[in-house]
Symmetry: C2
Subunit: 137 residues, 2 copies
């Protein structure tokens, strides 16, 4: 990781490492605020902007992606295999990734049909996850 960052022109610092670890250890997407809270448990002196800037950095080097459901909060999700869709739970805000191989072809075709230069997909299914459906009952 340290090497990876170096090749991109960034340095490694204790805070950075802490933030990266916390982010990648989580199995769900997080907002800057959430990750900040999580990281503060281990280093209470860390600043919010440091977390925020590192989240942006993670996106910049291509390891995560911002997602936005329109509630005004930007969340960050790990970018693994590309591309993939999300099942976004409107209740707990967790995302479940799913394969979209069968879909991208259709979308790429739609882009081509309109002479549109494709730069990326965002495929989202909003609803309620298994767990949240149970809780509501």
């Amino acid at each position: 990781m340290k090497e990876f960052l170096r090749t991109k022109g960034f340095k490694m610092t204790p805070q950075r490492e802490l933030i990266f670890r916390a982010f990648f250890e989580l199995e769900r997407n997080v907002s800057a605020e959430e990750l900040y809270e999580k990281v503060k448990e281990k280093d209470s002196s860390i600043g919010f902007s440091t977390v925020w800037r590192n989240l942006k950095l993670i996106c910049k080097v291509g390891l995560a992606q911002e997602i936005n459901i329109g509630d005004g909060i930007t969340r960050y999700d790990r970018l693994t295999k590309v591309p993939h869709g999300y099942l976004f739970c409107l209740s707990c805000k967790k995302t479940i990734e799913f394969n979209v191989d069968q879909v991208v072809g259709v979308l790429a075709q739609a882009a081509t049909d309109h002479k549109f230069k494709n730069k990326g997909f965002k495929i989202e299914v909003q609803g309620y996850c298994k767990d949240c459906q149970k809780k509501k009952k």
Copy 2:
């Protein structure tokens, strides 16, 4: 339209009518700010919050949908046939709708596979539209 709103418990006013007209006459999505500018041309006394609240109202009654590409600006797009995908131009911010009949089945299946209660899709292809590609040259 007036009748439609009445059945939902809302009143019709001159401002409301002006805003609705302006919104539906536009062929592209708009931000609250953009629609406000547009509406002010016809009635300069109208307030921004009136426009904003009516845009929310249009969404509430199911005639439009908020879209969000992550630039911090909420845009509103007419909801015609359902559902449909967007080609979203990162340069001019316009959206081009396209048919997603072939895709929704796959997404619905993904939802079912995860016991996820589907409440809506958001299918977006980000990139550059025909016109903006030309301008860049």
